[in-house]
Symmetry: C2
Subunit: 113 residues, 2 copies
């Protein structure tokens, strides 16, 4: 099962930023990692990913370093200090939103993992 695309809308930036927490990553790596972590339920397409990364960079939330692996280019993204602050905001807003939705839709939160 893959989530309907409309569900993922609005959370993509948060997902991407969160992946960069702790270590730099390159675009393709992010898509693979998210796919793996979610058991294929979230598959970020390139058409969605790259514009998002570019927007994050334009907003000063991430910085980039380009490297060559053999002849192939690889662009690493790292969180900026501004980006670190932004993650916290985004994640806590989403956590709040999730609680609201669970209440509104009568969803019982899964008990302790």
């Amino acid at each position: 099962m893959i989530y309907s695309s409309e569900l993922i809308k609005g959370t993509l930036k948060t997902i991407v930023l969160k992946q960069l927490e702790g270590q730099r990553m390159y675009g393709y790596e992010i898509t693979q990692r998210v796919k793996e972590l979610t058991g294929n339920k979230i598959q970020i397409t390139e058409g969605a990913l790259y514009p998002t990364l570019h927007a994050l960079e334009a907003d000063g939330l991430v910085t980039t370093e380009t490297e060559f692996i053999g002849k192939r280019i690889r662009k690493y993204y790292s969180l900026s200090p501004k980006g670190k602050t932004k993650i916290e905001e985004k994640v806590s807003e989403l956590a709040d939103f999730i609680q609201t939705m669970q209440f509104l839709l009568d969803i019982k939160p899964a008990m302790g993992q």
Copy 2:
């Protein structure tokens, strides 16, 4: 605090359908109810609401009855059988998505309410 609009995208139809579970409601009533239930955190604008309701009707998920209260029109929306099935799908997909996001973003689910 009001949630950033991008967060609500993708959940609006589900929210609206869920409100209709149990009783018919009219558009304005839905916005007020959701606002009240969420402590003003979710404010559905008319520009978002009416196109959504019309789309739900076009998809056969809701049926309508128009009534006059004095001279003022009021359009009640009710769930169709197809709509009832759709809610279950939508809500369970969202419940699943929430769990995935909690894991991906390292959000601790709130323990029993």
